[in-house]
C-alpha cells in the first residue's frame, strides 16, 4: 500500500568560522576607462562567489555588473582569504570587497568633487556616474574621472579591504563564546510517499523557505537551496559511507557502491527567500551555502512518520529500516 505524509523541520546556520578570526582581503583596482578588477583569492567551488562578489563591487562603485572582472585565481596577485567554507565568502569576502570598493571610490570622489563643485561626502555613484546627492543632473561619468585620475593626477586608483571578526575562544567551564557573525534561518516541509510493501520512500516535494539576510543574487540563492535539498534527499534516504562495522571488508569503491541522488531521486522543489538583513554583512547579506543541506533530512523522516506512524532514528532511512519498523509496530 502507498501512504503519503508531510513533515516539517526548521533550522539555523551561523555565518563565518565558528570562533571568528577568519580573514578575507580584497583589492579593487579601477582601470583608466572606469572598468574594475576585483582581486582576491576566494574560491568559487560552484556556489558562484565570482558572481556575487562582482555584484557587491559593482554596487558599491556604482558601475554596471559587466564592468567588473574578478581575478581570484592566483596567490601571487590575490591577497589572503581563509577559504570557501563555513558559509563565509559572501559575508566575509563580501565585506572586504565592499570596503575595498569604497576606498577606490573615495579616490574617484575626491576628483569628481572638484568637477561638480561639491564636497566628496555629498557624492554618490550609480549606473556608471558620480553625482551630487539629491541633484542627479549634476553628474560626471566614472570612466572620465578614472581617466583624469590616472593620466591627469597620476593616481593609482586602488582600494583595499580586510574583514576579520575578532576571535572568541569558548570559556572552558561554560562554553560561553561569541562564535558567529550572524545567523540565517530555515524552514522546510517534505511530502513523501511510502510503499509499505517494499519499504521504498519517494520524496514527492520539498518546499523550502530561507532567510538569507539580503539575497545578493536570488538566482544563485535558489541554486544553493535546490542543491542542498538534493544533498538532503541523499542523506535522508540513500547515502551511507560505512554501512557495516568494518569499513575494510565492505568499502564503497565506486559511485555504484556509494549512491548519490540522480535527477530521478530529487523531487520538485519550491523555494521562497525571506530577507531579514544582517547588521554586519555586505548590504545585509548572511551565509546560505551550507545550511540548505540540513533541514530536508529531518523533514523527510517526519513525513515518513506522518505517513506510516513510525520513527526511524538512524540515517539513512532505507527500505529495510522502513520494513523492520513497520514489522515492529505490528
Amino acid at each position: 500500500m502507498k501512504k503519503r505524509g508531510v513533515g516539517l523541520a526548521v533550522g539555523l546556520y551561523p555565518t563565518g568560522m565558528s570562533g571568528g578570526g577568519d580573514s578575507s582581503q580584497a583589492v579593487v583596482k579601477v582601470k583608466p576607462d572606469g572598468s574594475v578588477d576585483l582581486i582576491l583569492t576566494s574560491v568559487d567551488i560552484g556556489q558562484g562567489c565570482k558572481t556575487v562578489l562582482a555584484q557587491i563591487a559593482a554596487e558599491e562603485l556604482g558601475v554596471p555588473y559587466d564592468r567588473v572582472d574578478v581575478v581570484n585565481d592566483d596567490t601571487d596577485t590575490g591577497p589572503l582569504c581563509f577559504g570557501t567554507f563555513a558559509s563565509r565568502v559572501t559575508f566575509v569576502a563580501g565585506n572586504a570587497t565592499k570596503e575595498a570598493a569604497r576606498e577606490a571610490k573615495q579616490i574617484l570622489f575626491s576628483i569628481a568633487a572638484d568637477k561638480l563643485e561639491a564636497s566628496p561626502e555629498d557624492l554618490e555613484a550609480a549606473n556608471g556616474k558620480i553625482y551630487v546627492k539629491g541633484a542627479p543632473e549634476r553628474s560626471v561619468d566614472i570612466g572620465a574621472i578614472a581617466g583624469e585620475a590616472t593620466f591627469g593626477l597620476r593616481k593609482v586608483i586602488v582600494g583595499r579591504g580586510h574583514y576579520m571578526r575578532t576571535p572568541s575562544a569558548p570559556d572552558p567551564a561554560t562554553g560561553k563564546t561569541d562564535p558567529f557573525a550572524t545567523l540565517a534561518w530555515a524552514a522546510v516541509q517534505a511530502e513523501v510517499e511510502v510503499d509499505t510493501d517494499t519499504g521504498e520512500v519517494t520524496v514527492l516535494r520539498l518546499d523550502c523557505a530561507y532567510d538569507v539576510g539580503r539575497a545578493v543574487n536570488p538566482l544563485l540563492v535558489e541554486g544553493q537551496i535546490e542543491g542542498g535539498a538534493g544533498m538532503g534527499v541523499g542523506a535522508a534516504l540513500m547515502e551511507q559511507l560505512y554501512p557495516y562495522k568494518s569499513p575494510v571488508k565492505f568499502p564503497a569503491e565506486t559511485f555504484g557502491d556509494y549512491v548519490i541522488p540522480t535527477a530521478m531521486d530529487v523531487p520538485d522543489i519550491r523555494t521562497v527567500i525571506y530577507e531579514c538583513p544582517s547588521t554586519n554583512g555586505p548590504f545585509g547579506a548572511k551565509g546560505i551555502g551550507e545550511m540548505t543541506a540540513n533541514a530536508p533530512a529531518p523533514a523527510i523522516v517526519a513525513a515518513i512518520h506522518d505517513a506510516i506512524g513510525v520513527w526511524i532514528d538512524e540515517l539513512p532511512v532505507t527500505p529495510e529500516k522502513v520494513l523492520r519498523a513497520l514489522q515492529a509496530k505490528g
Binding site: 567551488i45 535558489e222 544533498m231 559511485f255 555504484g256 540522480t262 535527477a263 530521478m264 530529487v266
Partner: protein, 154 residues
C-alpha cells in the same frame, strides 16, 4: 599500438593507441579536447559523456578502437560563442551550471535526448539524465533548462 581513425567535432584525426586506451584518454590526452571530464573512470558519473555517431556514450569506459571510423561529438562541437546550441544558452539562462564540472556531459546527454525526443516531459528529461551525476544543483535548474530548450515552458 594500433592506428585509430576518427572524426571529432567534424575534424578527422589519426592517432596511435594501445588496445586498452579509452576514448576519453584519446580525447583528453592525445587530442587536448578537455571538455569531457575524468570524474570516476567507471562509467558512473557521466562527466565524460559524448556522442558517437549520435549515440550517448561514457567515453571513460568506451574502448578507443570501438570508435574507429566513427564521428564523435563533444561539448566543444556542440556550439561555440556566437553560435551556441540552444541547450548551452538555456543552461546559462536558467543557471543550470554551478561548478560546471558535470556540465559538458549533461549537455551531451540532453542533446541525445532532444535528438530522439524533441518534446520530452519533465519525467522523461529526468530519466534521460539519470546516468549523469551532479552534486551542486539538485538537477532542478538543469531540467528547467532542457525543458526551455525543448521549447516548453519550464
Amino acid at each position: 599500438m594500433y592506428t585509430l581513425e576518427l572524426k571529432v567535432n567534424g575534424r578527422a584525426y589519426k592517432v596511435e593507441v594501445k588496445a586498452t586506451t579509452t576514448l576519453l584518454q584519446v580525447l583528453r590526452e592525445k587530442l587536448g579536447i578537455t571538455g569531457p571530464k575524468v570524474g570516476c573512470e567507471t562509467g558512473d558519473c557521466g562527466a565524460c559523456s559524448v556522442l558517437v555517431n549520435g549515440k550517448l556514450v561514457k567515453a571513460c569506459i568506451t574502448n578507443a578502437l570501438t570508435v574507429h571510423g566513427k564521428e564523435v561529438l563533444t561539448v566543444e562541437g556542440l556550439g561555440r560563442p556566437g553560435a551556441f546550441h540552444p541547450l548551452q544558452l538555456a543552461f546559462h539562462e536558467h543557471y543550470a551550471a554551478q561548478c560546471g564540472f558535470c556540465t559538458p556531459g549533461m549537455l551531451m546527454a540532453a542533446k541525445a535526448l532532444l535528438d530522439e525526443n524533441p518534446k520530452p516531459t519533465r519525467d522523461e528529461v529526468k530519466e534521460a539524465l539519470s546516468g549523469n551525476l551532479c552534486r551542486c544543483t539538485g538537477y532542478v535548474k538543469i531540467v528547467d533548462a532542457i525543458m526551455a530548450a525543448a521549447g516548453e515552458k519550464a
